[in-house]
């Protein structure tokens, strides 16, 4: 299986002088294609920071992040922006969507950025909506969708750009357990059927229960890396 993501000795510090803290303190980890992996740890362990670094949302003080062999830690400006657009999908805890666009348009948005021709876009949006079980609801704006439905649209958008990996930071934190479970089952299904790679940052038991691999983080270093 090919390696999608590889980090080499990542370090990221915050604060200055006395308050200097290494949120990520020398982490080297590899994620392979098709994984359904969760980075877990208590609050303040550095898991969100790690996810941000892997996703190119932040730059490390030391170390490299290789995605499909390219060092994204060194990219800036349009380069990293385009890279994220084409290779990484994101799902955040809440408010993922652009409020003034409908669900359909939100999913379409990423493809517009990529320059996908109109016919292809329409087809793919409908396909995505179907995959996440929201067929027929594409015209609704986020305000008209439930929390769970919004997260599903986020998943659809993340998939629509055909990324190498989907990063999800606490995707179920704002949902009740039933909805959360449904969302996670959907993601697991996509992972199994479509071969999409998922990397979570979470301390939700439900995610941990479904994950194939758990990377335990505490105080900025990997404590344990268990595969199930």
């Amino acid at each position: 299986m090919s390696i999608v993501i590889e980090t080499q000795n990542l370090r990221r510090c915050y604060g200055t002088g006395v308050t200097l803290v290494a949120a990520v303190n020398g982490i080297s980890v590899s994620i392979e294609q098709g994984e359904f992996t969760a980075i877990i740890g208590p609050s303040g362990s550095g898991k969100s920071t790690l996810l941000n670094l892997i996703g190119g949302l932040d730059q490390p003080d030391e170390g490299r992040v290789l995605l499909q062999g390219q060092d994204i830690a060194a990219m800036t400006g349009n380069a990293i922006s385009d890279f994220r657009r084409d290779h990484i999908g994101f799902i955040f805890q809440a408010y993922n969507l652009i409020p003034v666009l409908s669900a359909h348009e939100n999913i379409e948005y990423i493809m517009l950025l990529q320059g996908v021709p109109k016919l292809n876009r329409q087809a793919r949006v409908l396909e995505m909506l179907g995959l996440v079980g929201l067929k027929g609801l594409g015209h609704r704006r986020p305000a008209e969708l439930s929390g769970g439905q919004q997260q599903r649209v986020a998943v659809a958008r993340a998939m629509a750009s055909k990324p190498d990996i989907i990063l999800a930071d606490e995707p179920t934190a704002n949902l009740d357990s039933k909805t959360g479970a449904e969302l996670l089952d959907l993601m697991r299904k996509l992972n199994a059927e479509q071969g999409l790679t998922f990397l979570f940052s979470t301390h939700d038991q439900m995610i941990m229960a479904r994950a194939q691999r758990l990377v335990h983080i505490k105080d900025g270093i990997i404590e344990q890396d268990e595969s199930r």
Binding site: N52, N78, S81, D82, A94, Y95, I98, L113, Q114, R157
Partner: protein, 407 residues
């Protein structure tokens, strides 16, 4: 296009803020147009008062004549000049005049003053001479008719129908000449300088009496657009100005008032700029608020791969859409206000007794096309410029920090 679609929809997200900012931009435009109209209207009132009394908006005369009204400095063959004037499109009217210092005598007294030889018909469109007649009749064809300033008539102790003797040096041989006239009317302009020192007779009589032939001392001009009078590049001026011939606009002829107007113009210009800086502050404030409100959303957009330039462009486009919308609202409002005030005038606190003739105590702002074309463009441009700094800020949002901060 996606960018435009997003921009327009974003405008209506926060209806209240959009409304308030729109209010600010619209008000700025309306104020800008009204101010300009006011200034022009005021200028028109003042210029009218000054120039239409007697001086005219511009004058053509022989070099040196105005220094001390030396009657020997006259335009000897004015036909060519008059032809040019007849053909000129920018002129509204002109009045040829003879002006000679003379001694004016009655049976009781003598005084020094100026004799104006005027064409009664041409003066109608040119000056307020006719309106200034407070007693008796305006000049007619009678060659011996004379109009006299009220204060002078009082000092000479004469009235309508009385005889007046004018004594001066003929312009060709310096010999003394005298002419007998009868007062047909008394005039009052208001300013002492005019009413105590002038008499008016028909121009042919003056030319004959002082041996001028067809000569003129002064041609007073009135333009269709009074601002033309002072333009340094006026074609008419260039055609006429010569080695011995002067063409001066009223600003140069009335230095005191000219100075005042120039100063207030500068002041108004500076204030205009200052006010728009102020409005821009409000607009920048508003745009920043709209960015802060969506910081998280913009961070997410950047995270999923939106380029910084796209975000920046979105902000600028929103500002542009807002400005265009505001102008769309502001222009009709300004138009209605301006047409109403242009027709009815603004009260000026009582009538103005200026130059003797009572001017209506109302100020009529002037409505011109450029106010409704150029000003909205300025406003739109200004709004877009105001949006640049916030746009750069938005484009440079670091996704990681903003995502963390908001939650």
């Amino acid at each position: 296009m996606l960018l435009i679609q997003l921009a327009v929809r974003n405008l209506f997200r926060n209806g209240r803020r959009t409304f308030l900012t729109c209010l600010l931009i619209t008000s700025s435009l309306v104020v800008m147009i009204l101010m300009d109209g006011l200034i022009l209207g005021m200028l028109g009132v003042m210029v009218g008062g000054i120039t239409q009394t007697l001086e005219g908006e511009a004058q053509i005369y022989k070099s040196g004549f105005r220094d001390r009204f030396d009657a020997t400095l006259y335009l000897a063959s004015p036909e060519s000049i008059l032809t040019v004037l007849d053909e000129d499109e920018t002129l509204l009217a002109y009045a040829p005049r003879v002006v000679v210092p003379a001694v004016i005598g009655s049976s009781y007294n003598t005084l020094g003053g100026l004799v104006y030889g005027v064409d009664p018909e041409k003066e109608l469109a040119m000056s307020r001479l006719r309106q200034a007649v407070i007693e008796g009749d305006y000049l007619s064809n009678s060659p011996r008719a004379l109009l006299m300033g009220r204060l002078m008539a009082e000092k000479l102790e004469i009235g309508i129908g009385d005889r007046v003797v004018l004594t001066a040096s003929a312009v060709d041989n310096n010999e003394l000449v005298q002419g007998l006239f009868r007062i047909s009317g008394i005039v009052e302009f208001g300013p002492k300088e005019l009413d105590e020192s002038m008499v008016f007779i028909p121009i042919e009589a003056a030319q004959a009496l002082f041996h001028l032939g067809d000569g003129l001392h002064q041609i007073a001009l009135r333009f269709k657009d009074f601002k033309d009078a002072n333009r340094s590049d006026l074609a008419l001026a260039r055609k006429i100005k010569d080695d011995g011939i002067e063409f001066k606009g009223w600003l140069a002829l009335q230095p005191g008032v000219g100075a005042m107007l120039e100063m207030t113009n500068y002041a108004t210009l500076i204030i205009g700029v200052v006010l728009f800086l102020f409005a821009s502050l409000g607009v920048i404030n508003s745009i920043f608020m709209s960015i802060y409100e969506r910081l998280y959303e913009l961070a997410v957009a950047k995270a999923i791969g939106t380029r910084p330039a796209f975000i920046g462009g979105l902000i600028v486009l929103e500002a542009l859409a807002l400005a265009v919308m505001s102008c769309g609202i502001g222009l009709p409002i300004a138009f209605c206000l301006m047409t109403y005030f242009a027709a009815n005038g603004l009260p000026l606190g009582g009538t103005m007794e200026f130059s003797g003739v009572v001017l209506p105590g109302r100020l009529h702002p002037e409505l011109l096309w450029y106010q409704f074309v150029q000003f909205p463009l300025y406003v739109i441009l200004l709004t877009v410029v105001a949006a640049i700094y916030p746009a750069l800020f938005a484009a440079r949002i670091a996704p990681a920090r903003s995502l963390q901060k908001a939650l």
